[in-house]
Symmetry: C2
Amino acid sequence: LTLIIALDPPTGVDPVEWCRSIFERTRDIATGFKIGLPAIVEAGASRIGEVFRGFDGLVIADLKLADIGDIMALTVEKLARCGFNAVIAHAFVGYERGLSTLSEKCRELGVKLVAVVSMSHPGSVEVMDGVVEKLISVVERARCWGVVAPATRPEMVRFVRSRLSWVKILSPGVGAQGARPGDALCAGADYEIVGRAITRSSDPREAARRVVEEQRRALERCRA
Amino acid sequence: LTLIIALDPPTGVDPVEWCRSIFERTRDIATGFKIGLPAIVEAGASRIGEVFRGFDGLVIADLKLADIGDIMALTVEKLARCGFNAVIAHAFVGYERGLSTLSEKCRELGVKLVAVVSMSHPGSVEVMDGVVEKLISVVERARCWGVVAPATRPEMVRFVRSRLSWVKILSPGVGAQGARPGDALCAGADYEIVGRAITRSSDPREAARRVVEEQRRALERCRA
């Protein structure tokens, strides 16, 4: 399974009920779910976490953590208690008492640590792209389980894969942001993260099925 | 007034009641309060925000936002609705569709945008320090209201002040992390952020008073 569904509730709906509704309709098609900061800030982690009780796939808190190690570790403790089993943090904060503290806590709790090394918006070029080698070395030192690299920039996915053969690559940006299902997988990603193309569809289950089918076909083509 | 109190509830207490108790005892001494990510993640922004209803000082959500502009803007909308009037974000996400989108939304909502350009943990040296000029130019372009620079590194406070005369500088790291009250003010900061030295004291009100008194004396000395 190569599909992670990004749950970002639109404004004006109950975020918990909205997440539950998409989750229930797609849980057997997706390998995991990624919940964004706005929903967690609005509802609190425990109300969101309850939605996924009993699900044994990935439940990723996409907080893009970027604080000192102690604060990130404290946050992850709370997330783990609420049922999240993976968390996204920035490699930018560095290793010493940054990702080092966080990765130790994650290992202790059995939470998968996923680090951002590149982002999909144009501003990512201004600062982050210039230090991508340093970010990758932070990921290496912290022995992160995974890395986020945008599907909209397959050359970045390829670059990360060439440097870190063992890491899981999670690629957002498929669908509404422009990448096609399979683009990132063909460039070396392990999972593609799809949000609005599924969650805003009138039939999320059917939309998720179509994405998986397109991924399968793209992989057949690029591996041929 | 030059004191901002950092509210980071210890584990095992009700974060809302804990924040309320410190707030009620110190609200006339502090110019504002900074609430960290763990408390907001645990309780949700609206329950935390309620604590400060009617307070006309700074109520800062210290989420260290570091996402694409749209997601940060959506988060700030929710925070503003919950009573927060300032938010901390990272300059390293860049300007274009990063801080540009966020700062526009902040202006629209009357929320003060505070950007991180340097942090207090050792990992800050690994990546961020090497690009501090770039981070400062992102702050300039986004016309941020304030900047976070650690009191534990007064040379960084001085550097930011020399580059951005108009910006408010907020300096954490006073007390438990090692800087003395007044150190950052003397280096050019506008506010010092003090957490545990006040919040874990048996008498938070008295501890806050003492910090303000020490700040006043330090300023007298360094301005003499």
